[in-house]
Subunit: 339 residues, 4 copies
């Protein structure tokens, strides 16, 4: 059993099927094909409005590209101090933003509170030595596996508008959050003030299928140029677009995410039955963060079960990890099976 991440499985059958179908015959390159045009319309339908979509092959590229359109080289981007953009991308955002800075704030379960962001923004000196804040980036699902509620998103959106920040959402696990909240893509994004979204499909069944979805038109203006010079405009673009066709067809994307979340819920319940095991915080999507005895940790590893230890940096004040305990992360996916 491999709980290391949700990218340790391949692509789902419908996605592969769609690639096969799209592969035949000749088509215009670089995304000027029929499938790419079709899928753009589909994105408009899904988000219930006109959106600009830019396809890329990795979540890191999606995040960095999105932020590069929102933050000038002299700007500041606020995020959680455990955010993927600040911690796990070897400085891709700083590279794409040409030296702009990421400011990491604390928050339980790797979630940011609107009031904390507000306080931070107000604390910044109004001086030329201070890089001006230009964007807020959050992860939905958070790096702690928590899901921002619609009210929390609205509150963060309001802070962004008040302070003139663009609002970016890292949606590497977008659908897992979506089905967890049981709302629409529109309700979880632009209707709450989100301006630009990293829309992840790879973890939830895609082969290499990520997209930057832009709600604030100004942010889309130069993204085609930025994407090209980042080496992200795929020559056989239709084979990326096709993945999204297979992904969206017959609610496949939603079903995959529901399954992954259900598996996490089962896992979560099962773990809580075990003596000495508790959760660092609730299981809201497809990731479980239990605090377990080191003895159990050793037993699980001995049994060949794969997963990663996790930092306790975002534990609630009240929780503490004892010397005989360890915090771990278990990730389920569309392909996980219950025993």
């Amino acid at each position: 059993m491999n709980f290391a991440s949700d990218n340790i499985v391949g692509a789902s059958a419908p996605v592969l099927q769609a690639i096969m179908q799209a592969n035949a015959g000749t088509m215009a390159a670089y995304g000027n094909d029929e499938i790419s045009k079709r899928i753009r319309v589909r994105f408009n339908e899904i988000f219930e409005r006109e959106v600009s979509v830019f396809f890329v092959t990795t979540g890191t590229a999606a995040n960095a590209l999105a932020l590069s359109s929102a933050v000038p080289p002299y700007g500041l981007c606020v995020c959680h101090r455990e955010a993927h953009v600040i911690d796990d991308e070897c400085g891709a955002p700083e590279f794409f933003m040409h030296g702009a800075k990421l400011a990491g704030l604390p928050g339980v379960g790797a979630k940011l509170k609107a009031e904390d962001v507000e306080v931070y923004l107000k604390s910044l000196p109004k001086a030329v030595k201070q890089m001006p804040p230009k964007a807020l980036s959050i992860s939905q699902v958070s790096e702690g596996g928590l899901v921002y509620g619609l009210d929390e998103l609205a509150a963060l959106g309001a802070v962004c508008r008040e302070h003139g920040l663009s609002f970016h959402m890292d949606g590497a696990r977008f659908v897992n959050a979506l089905v967890s909240l049981g709302c629409t893509p529109a309700e979880m994004t632009w209707k709450r003030g989100v301006d630009i979204l990293s829309f992840g499909a790879t973890k939830n069944g895609g082969l290499m299928a990520e997209a930057v979805v832009v709600f604030k038109p100004a942010l889309a203006e130069a993204l085609d140029y930025r994407s090209k010079r980042a080496g992200q405009i795929i020559s056989k673009g239709r084979l990326v677009a096709a993945q999204f066709e297979g992904y969206f067809a017959d609610d496949h994307w939603l079903d995959n995410a529901r399954h992954a979340n259900r598996m996490a819920a089962l896992l979560s319940e099962g773990l809580r039955q075990l003596p000495g095991v508790r959760l660092a915080w609730p299981t809201e999507a497809n990731e479980v963060f239990p605090i377990i005895p080191k003895t159990l940790d050793q037993a699980l590893k001995a049994a060949g079960i794969l997963y990663h230890p996790w930092t306790d940096l975002s534990l609630p004040e009240t929780e503490r990890i004892a010397d005989h305990e360890v915090l771990i992360r278990l990730v389920t996916s569309w392909a996980s099976r219950a025993r």
Copy 2:
């Protein structure tokens, strides 16, 4: 009939097959899987030595990443003035090189002559105002469809060594040149002084399969970091590696290129039979550059045949295009069919 480029077809059957096979089960992400390890060994065999390989999803990313390892931000990279890196990538190399400069030199059929490079390098002032030359980049096949001979490559390699330049080869059509020369990959690269190679497979049958192959170890040192921060380390990396397995199996890659070149030769001969048609320069790989009457140009377009007009910038002194003529480019591929 579509001669617009060799990326207007999909992936070849063996490549798709390999993806299917690699897709099953769980594997480590980010290229730490068995297939990725296996294919690295295969690259060593193909190049008859230890090489470092970095997989990316586009040729632009391969070129920009390769150059970023060879040219510091204050450096100069010499190339042909029609090179893909200077003309067709929206400044990707300048982005990855952090502002380093590309210097474009002239040359018939988009090929550089060693003596011209030498003269140019010697003409540069030895002063701090002058960005110091750090790399030479050539395209094999050239943007004019010409193939550098082994002696020409050796001469360019010698100039690079003499002036302390790294030698980069843009091999978007690497195999088409390889089978045209009938030599080994080693003979066409490091044995002629090439330090780093953009190894293209997408145009010749891949789905999204490009690689940076490094012969000079120093250039490989930081490429994993540079690749990560460029958003080019694929999470389901095995599905990129798998493409190369299908590509290399049973000389599939060589067969594909031989077929594409043969189709170009046929096309070339056929065209030369037509009244008022001549070639701007010989057909050496899978691209044909005929100078045709505008009347024929209109007829072909009317017949729905797709191709691009081309610049006459690199015509030989002796050749001139009359007002009633036009220079066009016709590209054949592994999937082209003779009538």
Copy 3:
């Protein structure tokens, strides 16, 4: 006699005087002092309108900073192929513009013709692979010592407006051009469509005194941040501002430039008396570009006279340099003396 450049002399007496006076007592740092405020008002008067002024210590910094506000990282800046920004600054513009590209066009005496710029802009493919043109940069005085006439400036300004380019003027020898035309600073800049200006004072009497003067407000918005992060906001800013006070007082700046131009005119006439000597093009400011016999070249050097040889790249079609000749540049300054 030293004709190598106009920066081989120190600062003029009034400028030094002004530094002495400003040096006493305490004042706010980083340009928030009274003198800096006063001099900003003076710039408004000189340009007959509200302008934004950013003080820097070198002409290279002024040019690179100005261009960074006008050209995004994915953009193109058109200039003459001999322009200081493309030839003499070790890629400072590319550094400040984060990888944007400079496109160098030909032109006699290092001057650009509006029609040539127009033709070039129209020749650019409308495709994402092509970096979009965002600015035009010219040097007034040109690197060939020629001065753009008011009509020529207006024509270039019109091309910029038509194509949505910002219009930058490198005014390292701004005043030499100004007195040569006998017009006002306003007439030579924003009234002809110039959006941003590198205003040089160092060559004409300053110690370290350059400024970026912005006419298009949008270009000024982030320049204070860009200047700070470029290390160009001087802590004892009043001592830079003071130089401009001394420079502008009692038409000192105009007198210095008139003198330098007069010296160049004298030199020009004198040279033309000599057998076998002719001018590559007219002497319009404080630089003379004679084509002289190599024998004379040797004699002058033997006499200890200092100057630089020059490229013949921008000679008119009609002119050719014979094997026994050489093209040289002689620069006069406010401190030059007639014998």
Copy 4:
């Protein structure tokens, strides 16, 4: 009385005198003059070894330029979380380093402890997602006005060597630390493992006189190019070099710093006499950090005394600021006078 900073006064008499003297006659530009050559030799004498010196006009430029030579674009630079490079330069280091990241660690009085740096470095994951640490930057004097002792510097130097980091010292107040320790420049830098130094002279009597001094030759290799493209190679370079001549002559630089430190000591003692006033930490150079009653704060301001409030972020665990108190910073200089 103005205690806002030590850059609110002008240049000292000997420095101005030196400028006057150097101003006469013609000299080679861009630092190729006799004075610049002379002063480089002087730096060798002062540091008792061969060093490379690069003159710049601001401390921000010195820091950013120094770090750009030590940290590649994908690298990490460790510093204190209140360091000038991370807090006060609008991202200049990130700009010059092309997107490299600064990691800020805590420490009392803005000083870093070798053991804390060691722990941090060991905590970094060995993975491609993690930017590799390449440099350590400290401020001597620290932003808290504290001076690193020779043993502390040696310990930090040892950590750098062990982990392959370059060791940078921000010496904006270099001499204030030097006379405080009563050691030689060599003892406080390269003999303790410092590889590259921002040598500040402006705050201590210069007009615009800062220098990057390089002890590790590899770090100097490209700094002339980096400096040129940063717009930091001054055309009338002799007038910067001359400032250092005046600065070093007759121990003027040491006398200035001794005076400034003495004034701070006096101020420190005087303050401690006042009821309800205590020091956040000892006064070791020319800055005093008292915690004073808000009533006194108001009284001082009412009396027109200028200074800045300060953050309590680096207070010792034991110290706390009560609601009726405030922490302020008072800076003395070579020009401060005792009453």
